[in-house]
Symmetry: C2
Subunit: 121 residues, 2 copies
DNA sequence: TCCTATAGGGATAAATTTCTCCCCTATTGT
DNA sequence: ACAATAGGGGAGAAATTTATCCCTATAGGA
């Protein structure tokens, strides 16, 4: 596994939340788990652009940060379920705030993002 | 300059806001500009852990995404000021929500983050 | 005269994150 | 026998982001 060479900043609230939410798919994982998509395969279907591997890794990190719990059922074929912890649930309103702002400004955002991309290519 | 090889996802609001806020220092830049630290040198002092270079690059991206504007004064020594656009101002409540959650859970966050770091080293 | 502050950019290295490919387990269905 | 499904993990490549180093220019102060 990759080992960090520099320590993260943990000064203020923004540093701290950044440390647990920074990861390409983490916010979406929390969101979909909250929506009731609990099993890894469901989450992968909800987020088809992510590789299976990275979702596992990011789920593990969310678990280590105590935002979700994982329950493994000893059955065959295997079954696992993730759920938000109480702590993780307190993040949902914050994630909603992010998503709502994005939704409310959808057209404008898409426009500026694409404009920038084109100017670089 | 680096040229993207894969396109970003722009499906939902979370994708879109992620695209404009994803960057190690962007949220803090918006925050400090909103607090009145308008000049590049002030921003660098507020965020001493960031390299000068990266702040410039991320400021440029924020500008291209129309969240901030830049005004250059043709004086010597040089002077420049950034300000939030109206669009950028609408992000402040969202950033506050992030920061507040981080502040409210400061102890717990620091604890789980450090615990995880130690277990990896 | 030399150092500092101010703003910025190019080239390149280093760090970090994400992806791809392959492998393992055991059961059910074809 | 073989594929599909479900969950997971290692190795290494590729992509992306961030950091470092060096250079431009001018004014003012020690």
């Amino acid at each position: 596994m990759y080992e960090r060479k520099t320590l993260p900043n943990l000064h203020c609230g923004l540093d701290l939340i950044g440390e647990v939410l920074y990861g390409k798919w983490k916010i979406r994982l929390l969101w979909f788990i909250n929506e009731g998509h609990l099993r890894p395969s469901e989450l992968q279907r909800q987020i088809p652009d992510a590789s299976r591997r990275v979702l596992n890794i990011q789920l593990k990190e969310l678990e280590e940060h105590e935002l979700i719990t994982k329950k493994i059922y000893p059955v065959v074929p295997p079954k696992a379920e993730y759920r938000l912890t109480e702590f993780g649930q307190t993040l949902i309103p914050v994630i909603s705030a992010l998503g709502n702002w994005g939704d409310e400004n959808e057209d404008r955002l898409r426009s500026v993002i694409l404009k920038r991309l084109k100017s670089k290519s």
